[in-house]
Symmetry: C2
Subunit: 612 residues, 2 copies
Amino acid sequence: MNHHIRDWLIGPPLPTTQLADERLNKVRALAAFSPDALSSIAYANQEIFLGLVVAGAAGLAYSWKIGVAIGLLLAVVAVSYAQTIKAYPSGGGSYVVARENLGKWFGLIAASALLIDYVLTAAVSLTAGVAAISSAFPDLWSYRVVLSLFFLVLITVANLRGLRESGTLMAIPVYGFLVFYLFMLAYGVIKALFTGSGSFADTAPLATEEVTRFMVLHAFAAGCTALTGVEAISNGVPAFKSPETRNANRTLLVMAILMGILFVGSISLTQYYAVVAPGDETILSALARRILGKGIPYYAVQTFTLLILVVAANTSFAGFPRLASILAKDGYAPRQLSFLGDRLVFANGMILLAGLSGVLIVLFNGDTHALIPLFAVGVFLAFTLSQSGMVIHWMRERQAGWQIKSLVNGIGAVATLVTLLVVGISKFAEGAWIVVLLIPLLVAMFHTIKRHYTQVSKQLSLRGLPPSLRPLPPPRVVLPVSGLHRGIIEALRYAQAISDHVTAVYVEISPGDGDRMQNEWQRWYPDVPLVVVPSPYRSIIGPILDFLDETDREHNDGQLASVLLPEFVPAHWWQNLLHNQTAWMLKLALIYRRRRTGRVRAIIDIPMYLEK
Amino acid sequence: MNHHIRDWLIGPPLPTTQLADERLNKVRALAAFSPDALSSIAYANQEIFLGLVVAGAAGLAYSWKIGVAIGLLLAVVAVSYAQTIKAYPSGGGSYVVARENLGKWFGLIAASALLIDYVLTAAVSLTAGVAAISSAFPDLWSYRVVLSLFFLVLITVANLRGLRESGTLMAIPVYGFLVFYLFMLAYGVIKALFTGSGSFADTAPLATEEVTRFMVLHAFAAGCTALTGVEAISNGVPAFKSPETRNANRTLLVMAILMGILFVGSISLTQYYAVVAPGDETILSALARRILGKGIPYYAVQTFTLLILVVAANTSFAGFPRLASILAKDGYAPRQLSFLGDRLVFANGMILLAGLSGVLIVLFNGDTHALIPLFAVGVFLAFTLSQSGMVIHWMRERQAGWQIKSLVNGIGAVATLVTLLVVGISKFAEGAWIVVLLIPLLVAMFHTIKRHYTQVSKQLSLRGLPPSLRPLPPPRVVLPVSGLHRGIIEALRYAQAISDHVTAVYVEISPGDGDRMQNEWQRWYPDVPLVVVPSPYRSIIGPILDFLDETDREHNDGQLASVLLPEFVPAHWWQNLLHNQTAWMLKLALIYRRRRTGRVRAIIDIPMYLEK
């Protein structure tokens, strides 16, 4: 039953041999790696608008300048990553680059930043997608949390089935978005040639605040979320068809140009037309409505915005589990994250990502604007570490032209560091502090996990004093009995098969029961001793543990008695509620009572199956 | 640590020998058994008022008549129970009386009704108590759910500590309530002699509905909750000092008279003064305010109303666990409910009661009025079954005067049956249907549990074909290994101590690992065979289960191989998250995979303790 549901949902298990090494051509690679980058204009433009609109027309007049500044930053970052692609053809994620060039600790910081980032990318993309479609269909807005979670579940299931199946599907939203959006921008420019420009003085609401330098920096910081996803291609170089490096770099170039056109284009047109969005609409929706009118093209733009944002959330489902599995293989994360699941994907990482993103969506009530302050810190921290690592990389390698290359990455590092500081400080109180707090906690967690694994492997190692390989002496066996019944008979038959030294023990709760039990026992097993231990406080576990300690002390033969536990297994799960679970509790008590002796107490379960 | 908190909260364990048989004199018995009965005027008056006020002055004019009708019903029920006390000096709860005289099924129906009742008594008393104190301090009303839960936790902990300790404490609220309340009524009567009567025409809000027969019956039905708790003394006859029957009957008489005075007195004064309560005040509070003014006496009355209601909730903590333990001993309820806990009380029953009452309080948002429709059905069903049982009892016994005695109980049975029908029908849509639905479900549950226990004891019985007492042949042992480490070495030493036939099995997930493992294994254990089983789908559990089936089939020696599981026990609980729990999952799979063969597969746990 359970299996049927699972097979229907995520498909039957796949054999390891199907782990094929499929390569992407440039067209499909762009679809696979760019959605996060391309779609980030949806929330970046919105944040710039929200940051400036409080200062009315005077504030909104800055949006074009901020757009150009971010466009320049995009160029710097893209060029920097182009160099990373050349240096790390096997995939230069920030974690790898930082770890190799800056050392373990910076690697872990980059990893923490990236993991946080992936979670936020999923959450922000989904809520922004729902905001886009709710702009077109305002009734959906009250269901935004449920809708975001619905899309989250959808992409989680798709990813658990295996990415390959969803690979082709992703091309449709990406190219559909590009076609409709570029068409809209072109149409907007042409239209602009025939109509005059608008003025924010006519459209903007009254200013509630004055324009300040902080406000402009704040809006710039929020708009920097437009750059999220630029690094995706450099992480995935090995997925490209040969020649990988060149194809990856070409794709990066195309992507950066498209990003620039989309971002600067839409922000310029917004300013030209002096478009302002009411409270329940996104600024991009207002722009599209202004250019296209409220017809089918407008609805198509909004729908494809939703779709590309869903696909953008999907890219986290490639990045997060892969990074988590690398961390797990390095011993910094729970080992389970490195296991390939039934469908040859890192299922545990995907479920973890989905859970964390879902929690964020619920906690922040599906509100993109509330999530954004947490977002950019991780991104720019990872950028900075990656670029700084590249500077060190070139200085170490000293290949031809290393000075120029260092300089390029150095400019990238400084630019992203400055942005990081602007973002961190201007957004600190609004939520960036959470990430600033979280990163050292994550780094500490990684470190603790690594230490645990190291210590375990030391303790398990066969090196050093070779442990005795001789068999242990025949065990003494203790059999706790609650009465004389078939379960006990079977257990005793087993006990006598493995040991000549079997003792039964009975815990007497009501005075007098012990004698009755002793008499009955003697009739069946005159040659197996039954010890009756009183339990004045009516506990079962305590007296048995005490008896075991005592008998071990008495025999003093270098071993701990094995405990045989007959255990009923009812036919139906609910019947467990009707039994005392004493065997189970005793087992837990025996396993979790640590002994300093280094000797082993075996616990032997004899399941007895009840039929009805 | 855990133990310290528990000892501080509920005290250290008590030895069974302290289970003393303390007897109560009449004064303390009244305090112990009457709170539920006496305090029920708090919600009964309130319900009559709420039922009639919708019809304004014309409606409220009926309250006096309803009060007298309920007073008469009280007299009938009290006389009936006086007879029960004589016939069942060992405690004649409705369950016992119905089971003995009407048979198993009616006994189970009575038990279901009573259990529901106890849960509702706790919930209703607490919410009514909080309503009483919120009438005096209106700010508390918004915290009613939390306050009710607070008092629930308080009495739960007090009861888990052992009732004896709280026995004396209970006298204070009960006698304090009686003193203040009787004083208030007397003062009200005297004051009435000097002032004229009021008129509802002046005070009552405008009628929104006409007076109908249904409305009056409805108010009567709600007011019948005043009778809850009358049966408490007849359940507890053995707790009285000798002569038990006479003392119990005297106490019942006093209690019934007090109930009558409180109930009829307060309802008459309410009508005489034409007191009406605003929405956020109880009618009893309004009456007390009218008679006493808003001074210290008023606050004392409200405080003692709260306290006696808390103590009334407390009586459920005696009744519910006791009835549950009787049911458990009869095999109708989970056995755990019959265990005396550390403090010599039926702790499991108390926790169950507290949990259920707490859920009701939360679900019904701490609103007494919403809970009441569920309440009276159970009470009057139990009354009816108990009285009917007594009729049969007298007819069977045929002692002197059996005709009169039958008649008295017969009148009681008919009166309570009629009330039951009135209550059930008039309150059906408001919530009584829940109880009408629940009772057959509970009866079915009791029956199913009994059947399960009967079947288990049949399966375990040594009667019939005597099972073989010969020891089993020496076991074959299979040891799943994940690698060569100290845990495996220890496990193998144990395996070799109990068997000459040990096989190790290794699940190969990545092709090639098997060969490496085989080579290493041969170096250490050339004489123990290691079987490598491939796992194309990367599962660990499945291939091991398959291997076990196969090896059992091959050997065909009438036994199933024992499975030895080395299990790491980390030093800290959180470290469990860092390990795969394969041993644990394998154990579950082995235990819960049912085999039809009747043969036993032993599962041997070898815990290995990690130090850090």
